[in-house]
Amino acid sequence: MSRISKKPGIVRNAVICVASAGCLVAAIGQAAAQSQRPVSADPAVVVKERETTMKSMGDAMKKISAYVKNEGGTVEGVREGAAAIRQASQKIAPSLFPADTGIGRIEDSEAKPEIWQQWPKFEQAAARLVTAGNDLSSAAEGGDRAAIARQFAQVGQSCGGCHDDFRQKKN
């Protein structure tokens, strides 16, 4: 009787062990997804890097728009631009917006306090751009002008939507 009763105990312990390991892995995954890895411990350097990254996306959008508007751009330029947006957009939430780098904290910052007050919403907005950038890359690989134009507009809406809520441009 006692031998029989031990078996379920072992099974139960094994289940608990596996489950908690799983939980632990999940918890680490969660933490990694949410934790910030700022590009520098110096907020001024972070803001500088943020501006450079945003500018790089602007340059890329400009390049892509030249193709979409038929004003001298090439599909090759669209591919390069889309790759730049993909790369830059992935940095936004994890490493470009640590706390205390917004308006009132850093001179010339245009980052509204809503970013940190509504962090999950901000992360979502950034994730929307990552997805749109990936889709633009795929469209660029396909080389279909109509598909590129559609995805270009999607990326633009992601940029503008986030700027509407989270950026206050200096005048």
Binding site: A153, C159, C162
Partner: protein
């Protein structure tokens, strides 16, 4: 720039508003369809819908101003909480004179100082469109305005001082495209409501029309969009202005924010390419001011 969308034959999700290619006054036989175009040109959705998840046009959107917080009212055809049962004349008086059917004056946060210039036909079409939308029962939220600005009985005096009705005056030497652009900017689009400075009584400073505001909605600065080459859009090409209105991109590849992206999404992207070009042509003639 002729619309690149048309050249591509691509109805972008953004631009697929079903906008007729011609001016609202001549865009077909159906008043509801024509009214939809005016509705988009006037950007009514923004202030009259609380959020993307909320019932459309049932009101509740908060607009913070230096005078207090206003809440957009319900403009669905619901007879008790919306504008159901209004006659065309009631509607025209509201948009042109800033008065409700019972004679109460509206706060000028409702841009009747701009809408007063809308044509009779456009106002009737707009009402036909609103009448065709689903009724939603949702009571209006009272405005939260500090005295003396919250004293509604003072509003008729304000209107006597600052409401200039009677349509936009003709200007010699201007073509039809310029006039259309002015109508879209000054009357329907009410761009000057955010893009112009106001005096201490909240009236737009007409000498500095569209010259930007340090104190726009939410207390934030709004840019100068006059022909000023340094502070405004004077160095932009008409195509660059039209492209901003279509998808929100500025000439340097940056995208607008601060509420303007919403204007692009709800309003200017749904206009015809000709109308966006008309707006660009008009803005490039607006004197720098301020």
């Amino acid at each position: 720039m002729a619309s690149w969308l048309l050249r591509l034959g691509v109805p972008l999700a953004l631009a697929a508003g079903g906008a007729a290619p011609s001016l609202a006054q001549t865009a077909g036989e159906d008043p509801v369809k024509r009214g939809e175009y005016i509705f988009n040109a006037a950007g009514c959705l923004g202030c009259h819908t609380e959020s993307k998840e909320a019932p459309r046009l049932a009101g509740g959107r908060a607009l913070k101003t230096p005078f207090g917080t206003f809440y957009g009212p319900n403009i669905t055809p619901d007879p008790d909480t919306g504008i159901g049962g209004w006659t065309d004349e009631d509607f025209i008086r509201a948009l042109r004179e800033g008065r409700s059917p019972d004679g109460t004056a509206y706060f000028p946060v409702f841009p009747y100082t701009s809408f007063t210039h809308l044509t009779d036909q456009d106002l009737r079409d707009l009402k036909a469109y609103l009448d065709a939308q689903p009724a939603v029962s949702k009571p209006n939220r009272p405005h939260d305005v500090s005295p003396p600005f919250g004293w509604r009985f003072l509003l008729p005096a304000w209107q006597a001082l600052f409401l200039e009705d009677g349509g936009l005056p003709p200007e010699p030497g201007r073509d039809a495209q310029w006039e259309r652009g002015r109508y879209l900017v000054q009357a329907a689009g009410h761009c000057g409501e955010c893009h112009s400075p106001r005096n201490f009584l909240g009236a737009i400073d007409h000498d500095r029309m569209l010259a930007g505001s340090a104190d726009g909605p939410e207390g934030k600065p709004v840019p100068n969009i006059t022909s000023d080459p340094e502070n405004g859009v004077g160095k932009w090409s008409p195509g660059e202005i039209a492209f901003l209105l279509e998808i929100g991109m500025m000439p340097d590849g940056d995208f607008v924010g601060g509420g303007m992206n919403e204007v692009v999404e709800n309003s200017t992207s749904k206009l015809s390419a000709e109308d966006r070009e008309a707006i660009a042509a008009y803005l490039l003639t607006v004197p720098p001011g301020g």
